[in-house]
Symmetry: C2
Subunit: 539 residues, 2 copies
Amino acid sequence: MKRRFKTLILLIIWSSLCCTISLAQEKVQQWNRFELALKYSSQGNAFDVRLTAKFTSKDSSYIVNGFYDGDNKFKIRFMPEKTGEWHYITSSNVRQLNNQKGAFECVPAAASNHGIVRVSNTYSFKYADGKQYYPVGTTAYAWTHMGKALQAITLQSLKQSGFNKVRMCVFPKDYNLVKEEPEIYPFVATGMENGAEGKEKKTWDLGKFNPAFFQALENQIDELNSMGIEADLILFHPYDKGRWGFDSLPMDVNFKYIQYIIARLGSFRNVWWSIANEWDLVKYKTHDEWIALSKAVAEADPYHHLTSIHGSTAKYIEYWLPYYTHVSIQDEGPVLNWGAAVILRNAYYKPIIYDEVGYEGNLASRWGRYSGEEMTYLMWMGAIGGTYVTHGESYMFKDATDTIFWAKGGTFKGSSWKRAGFLRKILEEAPGPLEASDGSRDFKTASADNGHFIVYFGKEMNEYWYFNLPQKNGSFSRLIPGKQYRVEIIDTWDMTVTKVAGTFETAPVEDYRLYDTERKKIRLPMKPYLALRITEIGE
Amino acid sequence: MKRRFKTLILLIIWSSLCCTISLAQEKVQQWNRFELALKYSSQGNAFDVRLTAKFTSKDSSYIVNGFYDGDNKFKIRFMPEKTGEWHYITSSNVRQLNNQKGAFECVPAAASNHGIVRVSNTYSFKYADGKQYYPVGTTAYAWTHMGKALQAITLQSLKQSGFNKVRMCVFPKDYNLVKEEPEIYPFVATGMENGAEGKEKKTWDLGKFNPAFFQALENQIDELNSMGIEADLILFHPYDKGRWGFDSLPMDVNFKYIQYIIARLGSFRNVWWSIANEWDLVKYKTHDEWIALSKAVAEADPYHHLTSIHGSTAKYIEYWLPYYTHVSIQDEGPVLNWGAAVILRNAYYKPIIYDEVGYEGNLASRWGRYSGEEMTYLMWMGAIGGTYVTHGESYMFKDATDTIFWAKGGTFKGSSWKRAGFLRKILEEAPGPLEASDGSRDFKTASADNGHFIVYFGKEMNEYWYFNLPQKNGSFSRLIPGKQYRVEIIDTWDMTVTKVAGTFETAPVEDYRLYDTERKKIRLPMKPYLALRITEIGE
């Protein structure tokens, strides 16, 4: 009887495998997801089953972790980074999951699929297909923990925006203006207990993840992907305060969680790992534990997704460590004043994202009360220094049930989100990333090429501007006399680009700068937040 | 005959040793120099003789290299960092220099001897005796390569100044405004050859250092020490252009040079190692070679003197490496604008010295034409961010023979050098180092303690100032209401400190700041370059 039952199970597994393999023979686009599902009914804790697979192509191989997805399903996901035939073989401490083989064909990506984003040319980013990626992101920390209706509205808001990155937390958030109880949790609840402050709180089986929680998260990350939005996924944060205890999990659970989430989400091309939001405000982890968690992420991720870690204001970590692909910091200091944004580029030799400089909103706290103009100004102040500033919006017109975008998502109520899209358009129209032209002396001019410049005036309201550019031109060739240029006036607030009549020609260098041969000047409308786009006229 | 000669030599050595040991029994002050001299006539190249000594006290031991000082003299120098009895024993591949033993007593330092300067509290410096050290330095790259008369004038100028650090090169300098041929060289000249540009140039025996050169350098460093001035000694620089070839020595010679200079100068308590000036402008060394040279310095120096490396404008190196005790950079960007100086503190977690932000002078080049006011402003802009800005002066009134201080020393002709001394006085009157009080938001206020603040207005010309301080107070306790304060107006240009009548009392926190309970304001003289010193009145 027992033996007959086992045979039956094996038959089920086999049929499931056949089915999987036939699915696997479907073609998979480059940077899309291949998924292998295996059925196995574990006698013990299915989350303790060890399962990996080795994927091999003509000239590369990857070892990825599988994971338990509930309902006796074990899955292995893989993102092929090269076209052609891929073979795989599984390895497991469970016989039935071990030594499963198969193959699939990776075909070229569709036009809308640009691949995973990676660091390019030290300070900037490119999709794997070579297209430049300029992060113009916003913040919606707990949007996936809100009700389904609100999540749908958030996705709609993001879709109509120009954002191509969103900072979002895996764990739910408890904060002044965010008190909603999520519908599902990352761990399986086992009951209730009295918390430290006498309040009832859930208890968890920390050996068991809740697959439904992660499936829901994955659906939303796939939705973001379909809109071309990168998910800057925050793995840990301090906004818990004993309510769920996800900020104070034992370190062995933290490491298992890292393994599990990377097994599930490593194959999602639009995922970035943000090890933490405000790491130093988490009371239950030491600095060295953060470094250990960062190392664990780098080691568990065979694709080396973009990875960073975010601290409280001006609390930087050792961003030079190899675990961090870029710098993701909270600090408004470097963008409130001229010439400061570029300094961290010079220090770290990595892309700099100011992932929290305060938000447009109407809160009493200074971090949440910028005007739309100020938020827009800060994004441009970052851009002109060759760095990136993340948007956020914290308007609360009603009460704690209001859908303040910064935490809950919903609809945008401010004015800078549209300007973020306009900035992205300006960045994407350039031939490459901006960098300060003469960074320690000229704080307003950025170069994107030998013949493409942006001059940003910030809050200055000028009546006119003499055509002039610095001789120094970032990493490009120094400017020379006798070149023709066109000028456009960019109104970063009104989101207009106006051509200036006529052309300009550089005269010989005069005290580090090149003016127009006839000393021509341009009339400006005496408004703040203007920029110029200056482009060389091709021969 | 031969044997008798050898015996004679040994007798000489023995008497020399006796003599040395009796000298050694003299008491040596803590952080002063113990020197052991041994006579030995080497048959081969005396610079190839290996000689070290181990110095042991009750609870610590050091191994230091000896060096050949010419005239058959081998020397071992040692800086005792602890009082009490020290024993030494030599080790050498030459029998006569091997196994020499002795002892001396290290006695407490005199009042004027504060010991070696070290990093203190992450961002600042202290002498070994606990006295705070605030670097207020100037620059005189090639002053020790000028004629003796000019060197004496330079020392006199430094003595009457308030500077406590000077950046200076070991190797001579060839630059636009500095063409003097030195009288002595660090290597022994062997003849002349035709250089790359057809000019005659000296050839060197790179296996033989010139002791006289180093002795002269040492005398001047001791002179500086007697004035309380630290020698920020630049080991390599690019200003050679094939004239002497000291920028393009083979790497094995560079390493020998490091060993030799540290053997000679490691025991000088006022020496800092600056691995290079403008490292990236030296054509003959790669980035990785600079790191290797930095590592060699750290490993050869048993005392771990303050060590950094300096690049061209905004060309930072990996200052997080353990070889560098502090950050020494060329960049005016961080001090030309508000709020930028502090950023590198936040990034590196080391003291920040802006060792070149341009100089006061009248040159055509933008690096050498600041007004005295601007140079003073930049020093204060660094100070208010909890960092340090080095002074320099580049006035040239005649021609290339003019004694432009920045390179040749001589007399100060500008106006900011006096203000540097005044800044030092203000810094030293504080209970500890300044740090930005609320660095990402308030760019004008620095705290030196719970009850000591400096507010710097820079170029603003204000008619009055409402008493107010930020609640955030750097690493100190947040400000609270009900505390009494006194205010003084500091004119950083006129070098005056004027007491403001009356006292001020902090009211409850209002939007992150504390005002006076009666909203008192202070009349200001509507001049630029003013600061305030605000001190709590003790209970």
